[in-house]
């Protein structure tokens, strides 16, 4: 096993990876931008290297700086987390060239699967069902008549998607021919900004489909297993916000079929390490390959909760050359797990990011509750990156009990200083629609289009304001217990000797 690895990421996922490393006796090297010098992942790591200015291109996307940091710290491997360079084939190649193990699939596999068109061809050859759509891409300036004809052939509504996409960026739904050109242009522009590649393509769009994905693990010895499914239908801005496992729509028989398709997809693409095969599940139980996420998913904890596996440990073992310690029959789910993503965002305002300083933080805890958190009280959620605060995950005996556990955990989660979707998520958990498991990617638009926070507890909030004014502000325990004289250092401003 590795003695030291570098984690080329930040926030909760960097901490999540370091937690398992620490258990395994692997030293961790954090990298950070100038905006993150006191970020939680920097404070937790065994070593930390500043790799550049806040702008991601100068830091977390800066391959030279990251590889230099890894070599300088004598790290043996690099874990990319999710986002940033996690699905960048060139980065995987460059790690290998620098004699660093990239904890993920080989660069060629990332490139093949990262290009939606190539991926689609691989899946078609492997007999994995794919979505009706174009097998060619569109860029600004292309002939739009051809695009319009293709959209007509697929049938509206159609989805415009960035070929190099992910994370909900560079995506547009088009309901009628008149909106097609504008949508292609906007998606292309967004893709160009986000991924440096403006190519987009068209796909059939199902109004009420579910997003169901299958976790796979593949070792370097040719063993591939699937680790059950996750339902991630509930999305805002085309980005998942609530995930669960098992999916309320997936029967045991369907689970086997989707699992086999996912394993076939992994085998056909020469996959190694942990990956996720995303499917669209139509109301008639037919399913279609969407894409392979060639990395650890944000939502991997729901799989960990129901299977009892540590997927980061699996990743490290695979990267170190170990055989998978389990076969398909060893893998079974128990109970039900749900994850809510807690972002610094404003649910009353289109979930727009709400960066800032975390003023108060009280994490929920208790039986069956896990919170993978990337901040601390006093920490900044900088404007420069994806504003995820934590992933709140619960596990209970049944879906109904897991929903109640999540609602309770959300109600006990206190974050002040930034806005969060907690009040929205509570309402989703307590809604009959969510309770019925009747999910689709249009869930929020269908059931929570005009969501406003409940007016409950308004009187309590007014009472709290009055009592807060009435009760003395304590100087703090710190000050109370502080009786010694200040040292000379404490009276200095900035100094240098």
């Amino acid at each position: 096993m590795f003695k030291k690895i570098l984690i080329a990421n930040r926030g909760e996922i960097a901490l999540r990876i370091m937690a398992t490393c620490r258990e395994m006796g692997i030293d961790t090297v954090a990298v950070y931008s100038e905006a993150d010098s006191t970020a939680a992942h920097v404070l937790y790591a065994d070593e930390a290297v500043c790799i550049g200015k806040p702008e991601p291109g100068d830091s977390y996307l800066n391959m030279d700086a990251i590889i230099d940091a890894a070599k300088g710290a004598n790290a043996e491997a690099v874990h990319p987390g999710y986002g940033f360079l996690a699905e960048n084939g060139e980065f995987a190649d460059r790690c290998q060239e620098a004699d660093l193990v990239f904890i993920g699939p080989p660069g060629t596999v990332i490139r093949n699967l990262g290009d939606k068109i190539t991926a689609r061809r691989i899946m078609e050859r492997a007999g994995v069902p794919v979505m009706p759509g174009t097998t060619w891409t569109v860029r600004t300036g292309d002939n739009m008549d051809e695009v319009a004809a293709a959209a007509d052939a697929i049938g509206y509504p159609v989805l415009v998607k960035a070929s190099a996409g992910g994370g909900g960026k560079g995506i547009r739904i088009v309901h009628e021919p008149a909106a097609l050109v504008d949508a292609c242009m906007a998606a292309s522009r967004e893709a160009q900004t986000a991924f440096g590649d403006g190519a987009v393509y068209l796909e059939k769009f199902f109004e009420t489909a579910r997003h169901v994905e299958v976790q796979v693990l593949a070792d370097t010895h040719g063993n591939v297993v699937h680790v059950l499914e996750r339902e991630c239908s509930i999305q805002r801005r085309h980005q998942k916000i609530i995930e669960e496992s098992p999916s309320p729509a997936v029967t045991s028989e369907l689970r086997d079929r989707m699992g086999e398709a996912a394993v076939a997809a992994a085998r056909a693409s020469g996959y190694v390490n942990a990956g996720t095969v995303e499917f669209l599940l139509a109301p008639d139980q037919s399913f279609y390959f969407l894409e392979v996420n060639t990395r650890l998913q944000v939502e991997h904890p729901v799989t960990e909760m129901i299977t009892g596996l540590d997927l980061v440990r699996c990743q490290l073992d695979i990267a170190a050359g170990a055989q998978l310690p389990l076969t398909q029959k060893d893998i079974a789910g128990r109970g039900h797990a749900i994850e809510c993503r807690i972002y610094a965002e404003d649910p009353e305002n289109g979930f727009f990011p709400s960066p800032g300083r975390i003023e108060v933080l009280h994490e929920p805890s208790g039986p069956g509750i896990r919170n993978d958190c990337g901040v601390y009280a006093g920490a900044m959620v900088p404007v420069d990156y994806d504003p995820i605060i934590s992933k709140l995950v619960v596990h209970a005996e049944t879906r109904e009990l897991a929903i109640r556990r999540m609602a309770k955990a959300l109600r006990e989660y206190v974050i002040l200083g930034v806005k969060t979707p907690i009040p929205f998520l509570v309402d989703v958990m307590e809604s009959p629609a969510f309770g019925a498991g009747d999910l689709s990617t249009g869930f929020i638009d269908t059931h929570f289009q005009d969501w406003r926070p409940s007016t409950g507890h308004r009187d309590i909030a007014l009472i709290a304001w009055v009592m807060d004014a009435m009760l003395q502000k304590p100087a703090g325990r710190q000050a109370e217990t502080e009786s010694r004289m200040p040292t000379p250092w404490e009276t200095l401003g900035r100094w240098q000797l």
Binding site: E359, V383, L416, G417, H457, W465, P474, R477
Partner: protein, 186 residues
């Protein structure tokens, strides 16, 4: 005594009769009336922002932090903005909230302008996109809050903008109804 407060923009009068307090143990008791409801309240400051309230015998934990033009109170998974009514009236944010939905073209967070979609003199319909901004890699189109004529475009592509900056000035159509029938308390 009376406090004139707003909760999420809606005005309330809170009548307070303090009954007992102890600075040393950081506890206080009071009777209050809000919109005809009577409350017997006992409160303890547990630490910093954390208060424990006993309201008509029922215990609950509330957290009071800095908010927009006042305080943000978090209780039982809800986040409620509470402010002194006069402070709230002075704050554009408070005014905006009181009217449900933006009445000005401004970015909700620090952002960079990607493109401007209209120019001074253009007629715009309510909901029409006028400026595209990007923040945290997310592109968002700011729309006209009402129909009218653009009288000034105060920004340009590439500009850094902040919440409160009025990016586009629009003269409202004569039939625009500023004080519409929205229930402000939602």
């Amino acid at each position: 005594m009376e406090y004139n407060l707003t909760a999420n923009g809606e005005p309330f009068t809170v009548t307070v009769s303090p009954t007992e307090g102890d600075a040393a143990s950081n506890t206080a008791e009071a009777e209050m009336t809000i919109a005809g409801n009577r409350y017997a309240v006992a409160a303890t400051r547990v630490e910093g922002n954390h208060l424990h309230l006993k309201v008509n015998g029922r215990g609950m934990n509330v957290y009071v932090g800095e908010g927009e033009a006042g305080r943000t109170v978090m209780v039982n998974g809800l986040m409620i903005q509470v402010a002194d009514a006069e402070d709230a009236a002075r704050s554009p944010q408070g005014k905006r909230r009181a009217k449900r939905g933006p009445q000005e073209v401004t970015s909700p967070t620090p952002a960079v302008v990607t493109s401007v979609l209209v120019a001074a003199g253009d007629r715009v319909a309510e909901g029409q996109g006028v400026v595209v901004v990007t923040a945290m890699k997310m592109e968002t189109t700011l729309t006209a809050p009402y129909g009218g004529v653009v009288t000034a475009m105060n920004t340009e592509a590439g500009a850094n903008v902040n919440p409160g900056d009025i990016l586009v000035e629009i003269e409202r159509d004569a039939d625009g109804n500023e004080g519409d029938a929205d229930d402000d308390g939602q």
